[in-house]
Symmetry: C2
Subunit: 340 residues, 2 copies
DNA sequence: TTGAAAGCGGTACCAT
DNA sequence: ATGGTACCGCTTTCAA
């Protein structure tokens, strides 16, 4: 066998057997006491001895051993990969984690940057999570979903712009963002509407549907939509602004407030009047957008509260066969200000 | 015993025993083949049979079982709690995860929002990580460190503004940020220097040392530092700007670029000339700061590359007794522009 | 009320 | 070149 000493410093990691020995009871009793097992009555003196022994040794149960024995874990795995898309996202993630923990899940974010779909799925599956909640940062293939399910995941949930085969898809309707922004612009009489499409990788899952939404909004009107690739850099914005007149646009939906601020500054520097010549609409309702002159018109996204999603996850775990479709995870609302 | 069927759908999660059965070999052989164990020679035909069986069943090894047997894991746990402090942070985290994975660690972020120090430490310890890298988001007490070490963590590393007892402290010298900004302002002849201290909770670990750094910078000069509590809201900024003249300040270090932009706008609206009457310096070198007029002077923080920190973590794991102090994790450099 | 023991899914020593 | 098997830490049945 040969199990070499676990700790370099003589002191080994205490196990329930150590607690049992110190308390002068069996390991079974330790387990009963520490888990407050209802089905078994343990005398108060014994309980105290066990508790004190555990305390003295600094005993912490071994989650892996526990879930190995139990045959399942309560781990919810959240793959992450991208740089944050905005402050909403971080807040939302925090909320979700908090809510899941209240439902007694162990929430773990797993950085999967640079892993492709199936590699990632295998890596996640090794941890035997009871549920995986993916925000579309990592491409999840039907095959990857199959791997996860075979490895015991009760629920694979994708929250994102589009459905993924075999998962509980919670659709965040990004298209609606583009639609709301564009309808507003069309309603204000704008006809040639640019839509900024960030060139940064990893944003396609959001920018694509937003562009599509914008196209839907102009369908059946005489307005047109023009995609505008843009990097989040001054030079890129200046370059775009330089050929603005040639593009003949009278409005732009700038993907989000940051791109909007970038572009608006470039337009103003190029002598394009906002909103007279060109209306600008952002998205996210950042505080900073309100500080601009003109103040930035924007689309506010009210992300589902984390608690709601946590409940959906919990439901999917309890009833893996059910189909908890939900399309109400995101509401988008236009916040008209001065820029368009 | 009674281990009820693991999967509601008849299909159970395949184990190495299933692979062995299908391939007509022993579990030992399966292990040897799948792990490419050097010490043991397995014939090529057998290897192929095992691989095919594993493939056919969709076998994925069980990480918990493996690390239980091994007596250690390669999990690095990154506690997270707060909303992101800035775009640097997310990028840095991604880099770190990527670099650690290349060193064959499993990186896991554990959302610990709302857990106090010892609760959190216990929760982390249950996962038996080989290392914990804490960014000071969760208060890590000496006691918490002790819990982690007793549970087998080879390295507890704190990356943050101040040392924590018993850990490998990688100090990010936030004080330097305040010092750099303030020295610059003093050098430009400013004498009454406000320092914005955000009222939002969770930022104290950064704002405190930055304020101290500013104080150090004026020590021995005739300049003074005045702390300015501020919430990240327009009203708060307007209120502060309203009594600006009464404060008699000729400069302000605004904690970061976002607070700087907020305050600068409020000052301008209140008729305070920037930089003539009051110089404004931010921090983070956000693109948006460059778009303001006047352009925002700022302090750029060059965070250690993730790979460097990953190496430090790896070193600490390999030699837990060593003391890999590093104070070079953060370099701060003033970027003078127009605002001060 | 408590204890003995089986077994979760792997790994690695020792035999064959 | 393979297989048998003990064991990691914990839970839970069954017996005492």
């Amino acid at each position: 066998m040969s199990q070499s000493p676990r700790q370099s410093a003589g002191r080994a990691v205490p196990t329930s057997a150590d607690v049992a020995r110190l308390a002068g009871v069996s390991r079974a009793t330790v387990s009963y006491v520490l888990n407050n097992t209802e089905a078994v009555r343990i005398s108060e003196p014994t309980r105290r001895r066990v508790r004190e022994a555990a305390e003295e040794l600094g005993y912490v149960p071994h989650a892996a051993a526990r879930s190995l024995r139990a045959g399942h874990s309560r781990m919810v795995l959240l793959p992450t990969a991208r740089v944050p898309v905005g402050p909403l996202y971080g807040t939302f993630l925090n909320e979700l984690q908090w809510a899941l923990r209240r439902l007694d899940y162990t929430v773990v974010q797993y950085g999967s940057l640079g892993l492709d779909g199936d590699e990632a799925a295998r890596a996640w599956a090794e941890l035997r999570p009871v549920a995986v909640v993916s925000f579309g940062e990592v491409e999840l293939t039907p095959n990857g979903v199959e791997i996860l399910k075979r490895s015991g995941a009760k629920a694979v949930i994708t929250v994102g712009p589009r459905r993924v085969e075999g998962t509980h898809a919670l659709v965040m309707d990004q298209g609606r963002v583009g639609r709301v922004a564009t309808e507003h612009l069309v309603g204000r009489g704008r006809r040639r509407i640019g839509v900024v499409v960030p060139e940064e990788p990893g944003l396609e899952m959001f920018s694509g549907p937003r562009l599509d939404g914008a196209r839907q909004a102009v369908a059946g009107t005489d307005a047109v939509v023009v995609p505008l690739p843009l990097r989040y850099e001054e030079e890129s914005a200046n370059e775009l602004a330089g050929r603005w007149r040639a593009l003949g646009l009278d409005a732009v939906f700038a993907y989000n407030d940051e791109y909007a601020m970038l572009l608006m500054r470039a337009l103003q520097d190029a002598g394009v009047l906002v909103p007279e010549e060109t209306a600008v609409v952002g998205c996210d309702d950042l505080l900073l957008g309100r500080l601009l002159r003109p103040r930035l018109t924007t689309v506010r996204i009210d992300m589902v509260i984390g608690r709601r999603l946590a409940e959906l996850v919990d439901g999917a775990v309890r009833d893996p066969e059910g189909t908890p479709e939900a399309r109400d995870l995101m509401a988008s609302q236009l916040v008209p200000r001065e820029s368009g």
